[in-house]
């Protein structure tokens, strides 16, 4: 999968190893780690890979050593890049260390000096050329049947995200059908939020600026998104000029106005790391689900929830590892549920690709059924089949 010390990396890196690399990360952030080993028990990548360099404690040691002259060879890059940035190590760290933040900073420093894997470089090229994580040349708003829905001025905008724009257009459509009832509009020329580049160490400022410019022109005070990765990025990497609201939060506050019907279903809920642990959104999706049907929790939930394996560039760079992490997450699904519901298209995609036996659906899909606005009674048919998805050559990053 990613053994320790294998040498499969691109020549670009090998050349760079010859040059002096400077990595300076706040030494206090690094020294907070006392190497107690708590993270060994929770790191999802380490659980599969087993090498010390593939857990948070090891990664912090590697980053510290990079600052002291360790050459960033392929094992270093695999150490840093197999972190899904799920943040469970930070949540559990008794000393308050934040390894994903350290890892992400180290990735940024390395990439800025030209040291990266082929997967990182490919993603940077793709997003740079197309403004989306898939390198898609097509219309980002291709799913929108009524271009008149885009208003020049509005209080709120729906930030769709790359995955729902290009891969799950029905989710985008369904979400917007509900949101526009509340006067929400769209960005006319939305681009990737920047999350994939930020997570993998690349510069996302141009993307941020272009999206920000449109948000300002519309005069939006609120940006609503249904993607956990976009939500976390909009919240943490964009200026504090507008409120960022997740679709589950938006819906949970408007349950009375939505007139949802009860459905005879039992579902479970997967907490996306970037919505849950990173941003503390745990209750709103549960509130919405419980307004519609029965909720049976997974084995690990909320701040203890296991990662789907899709984030941090792991899906793009280490697909086998990513899917194995997802398979282990599927083992947390309680028996007898009709669906796994989540609020992140990347999680949904990874859990499906890992072979979930029950359908994995977006919260908006459940809401759509409860609203009876969906002409199609079978929610699963609105998604590509997992088998079909697996054949595509895409590298979404969380």
């Amino acid at each position: 999968m990613t053994g320790s010390g294998d040498s499969k990396k691109v020549t670009k890196i090998e050349r760079k190893i010859e040059t002096k690399i400077t990595i300076s990360i706040d030494p206090r952030a690094i020294e907070l780690c006392v190497r107690c080993g708590t993270c060994r028990s929770v790191c999802p990548a380490f659980e599969i890979l087993g090498w010390e360099s593939r857990n948070s404690r090891g990664r912090v040691m590697v980053v510290k050593a990079l600052g002291e002259g360790l050459a960033p060879d392929s094992n270093v890059l695999d150490s840093l890049n197999t972190c899904t940035t799920c943040g469970i190590c930070a949540a559990k760290c008794p000393a308050g260390a934040n390894p994903p933040e350290i890892v992400q900073k180290a990735r940024t420093r390395l990439v800025s000096q030209g040291v990266m894997t082929e997967a990182q470089a490919g993603l940077m090229r793709k997003v740079g050329a197309s403004g989306n994580t898939f390198g898609e040349p097509g219309d980002r708003l291709g799913w929108l049947s009524d271009p008149g829905a885009i208003k020049e001025k509005a209080e709120s905008v729906y930030f769709v995200g790359c995955l729902d724009s290009y891969r799950y257009p029905e989710v985008a459509k369904k979400t917007f059908e509900i949101l526009r009832r509340f006067g929400v509009t769209l960005l006319p020329d939305e681009e990737c939020c920047g999350s994939p580049l930020i997570r993998t160490g690349s510069d996302a400022r141009k993307l941020v600026d272009r999206n920000l410019d449109q948000i300002r022109r519309i005069g939006a005070k609120t940006v609503i998104t249904g993607c956990a990765g976009c939500y976390s990025t909009l919240k943490k990497y964009y200026p504090l000029e507008f409120e960022v609201v997740s679709v589950p939060e938006f819906l949970a506050e408007r349950l009375a106005e939505l007139d949802l019907k009860r459905l005879d279903l039992t579902v479970t809920y997967h907490d996306p790391c970037h919505l849950g642990r990173h941003c503390g959104i745990y209750d709103p999706p549960r509130k919405v689900i419980k307004a519609i049907c029965r909720l049976v929790e997974m084995k690990s939930i909320r701040e203890d929830a296991r990662c789907c394996g899709g984030g941090g560039g792991v899906r793009a760079g280490y697909p086998d590892l990513s899917l194995e992490i997802a398979r282990r997450r599927l083992a947390d699904v309680p028996p007898g549920v009709d669906a796994i519901v989540s609020c992140c298209p990347l999680c949904i995609r990874n859990l499906r690709d890992a072979g979930s036996e029950v359908e994995v659906i977006d919260l908006i899909d459940l809401v759509g059924r409860a609203l009876e606005v969906d002409p199609d009674p079978d929610p699963s048919s609105r998604y590509e089949s997992p088998a079909a998805e697996r054949t595509t050559d895409e590298s979404p990053v969380g």
Binding site: P27, R35, S53, L70, V76, P94, A95
Partner: protein
């Protein structure tokens, strides 16, 4: 053929010589450092035997490592060579509960074993703070124990039989599944606590205990640690043996409250946690008795409201060792002088000495630990970027160790000697005892390839020690 190729023939791609991998295996949670030349992750006894045999032939050191959570450098390859990462050998081989036994590989994590045992109504009592991530192999190699050893004893009390790879690669069994045996030298106990210097443990038959039906937690706070210590003595004198008896000084309480402001611990004073286990009736009775014993001298005495509150307190207690940075993010816990133990009646004297030492060196400290068995954990914390604080830290740790020895105690109650405390072995045990240990080491490992530089068993340097 190079050594790396020979090792690769044994374990395939489960070997690394990558600089960053070797770096990640160059320390545990102590300050001891030593970079291995190779990291090998065996999965079978056969592989361990082949690697150890090869190392003996080539004269290369072999250091076994579990989760690398040690606090004395026991798993650090201070002379280089091969680190054997045993954490991949993590199968529970057999649940032989009709014999009150389980058979495990050394890489099984303590908490995972107890999760597996719980549905059957049993548990493996040694309960260190690191139970969620430390391995059984490491516990055995260091005779670890934890919070419940005041009633249940240390790991030593729960090992019936070991499979051990000797220094020349031979594989031996040391015991049997019988609960007692009088057949010759107790080889099982010889290997327990030997820190990988005599052989590599590849399988263990462990005794398990029935899970108590109920537990109760009494929380008593006192004016100072000495008053707390005296209350513990009175509790034992009243004929009560708690299943755990922990002291948390006021600094520790402050850290715990910083981590969880809602935690059910009194905000002031030094606190003793008394846990009793048994049936619902017996624990209620014992908890009330403890409250009666403590009340005359305690500031306040409370009984935890239920299982959840108890679990919350124990979970916080387990991780408090590394949590001092919550009080001041510019300070880090450094594990030195952290595991001293004294005969129980000397606990108040030890606490006095430690207060005087930390004051003398101007270092803040948390004091917590297993007061019921005389084991006190002193958590010294410093700004690691400050050279002067490092100097004072090491001097304070040295003074703490010597104070424990002076009081008839030990420099390590449960964390082990490793390289960090090797310098105190002769002072604590005497030169005659050390010479016997060295004779045993020579008999079992004549070439000295197994974990050299530890326990003062050889004359070479033990780099990275605390001084």
């Amino acid at each position: 053929m190079d050594l790396i190729d020979k090792l690769r023939e044994i374990v395939g791609d489960r070997i690394s010589a990558a600089p960053s991998e070797r770096l990640c295996y160059s320390s545990d949670a102590s300050q001891v450092r030593g970079t291995p030349d190779y990291v090998v992750r065996p999965l079978t006894t056969g592989e361990v035997s082949a690697v150890v045999g090869l190392a003996a032939t080539e004269g290369v050191p072999v250091t076994a490592r579990g989760a690398g959570t040690g606090l004395a450098g026991g798993a650090v390859a201070v002379r280089g060579g091969i680190v054997l990462d045993m954490s991949g050998m993590n199968r529970i081989v057999e649940m032989d509960l009709s014999n009150l036994a389980v058979v495990v590989e050394p890489g099984v994590v303590q908490a995972r074993l107890n999760e597996a045992l719980k549905p059957s109504g049993f548990f493996f009592p040694p309960d260190p703070g690191s139970s969620n991530f430390c391995t059984i192999g490491g516990l055995i190699a260091n005779n670890g124990s934890g919070m419940r050893c005041v009633k249940y004893g240390t790991t030593r009390s729960y090992v019936l039989d070991l499979e051990v790879v000797l220094a020349d690669g031979r594989v031996v069994r040391t015991g049997s599944r019988t609960l007692k045996s009088a057949a010759g030298y107790d080889l099982t106990r010889l290997f327990i606590g030997s820190e990988g210097t005599l052989g590599i443990i590849t399988q263990a038959v462990l005794r398990v205990a029935p899970l108590p039906k109920a537990r109760r937690l009494v929380i008593a706070s006192f004016e100072d640690a000495e008053a707390a210590g005296r209350a513990v003595t009175r509790t034992f004198a009243a004929g009560i043996v708690p299943s755990a008896c922990e002291i948390l000084d006021r600094t520790t309480i402050e850290v715990l409250r910083r981590c969880d402001p809602g935690i059910a611990l009194p905000p002031d004073g030094d606190v003793i946690l008394f846990e009793v286990d048994g049936t619902a009736e017996s624990t209620a009775e014992l908890a009330a008795e403890i409250a009666t014993v403590c009340s005359p001298t305690a500031r306040r005495v409370e009984i935890a409201s239920g299982e959840d509150e108890m679990e919350e307190i124990w979970a916080a207690r387990r991780l408090v060792g590394a949590a001092v940075s919550r009080l001041d993010p510019s300070k880090s816990r450094i594990y030195v002088g952290e595991d001293v133990g004294v005969p129980m009646k000397e606990i108040p004297a030890l606490i006095r000495e430690i207060c005087s030492i930390t004051e003398r060196f101007g270092l803040p400290a948390m004091k917590y630990g297993h007061i019921g068995d005389g084991n006190l954990h002193v958590a010294l914390f410093i700004d690691v970027l400050n050279v002067d604080e490092w100097t004072r830290l090491l001097a304070a740790a040295d003074a703490i160790h010597r104070a424990a020895i002076r009081l008839g105690g030990t420099v390590s109650s449960e964390h082990g000697i490793g390289a960090a405390r090797a310098a105190y072995m002769t002072e604590q045990l005497g030169s005659a005892a050390i010479s016997v240990m060295r004779a045993i080491k020579r008999a079992l490992d004549p070439k000295g390839t197994l974990n050299p530089g530890k326990l003062a068993l050889d004359d070479g340097p033990s780099p990275g020690g605390e001084g």
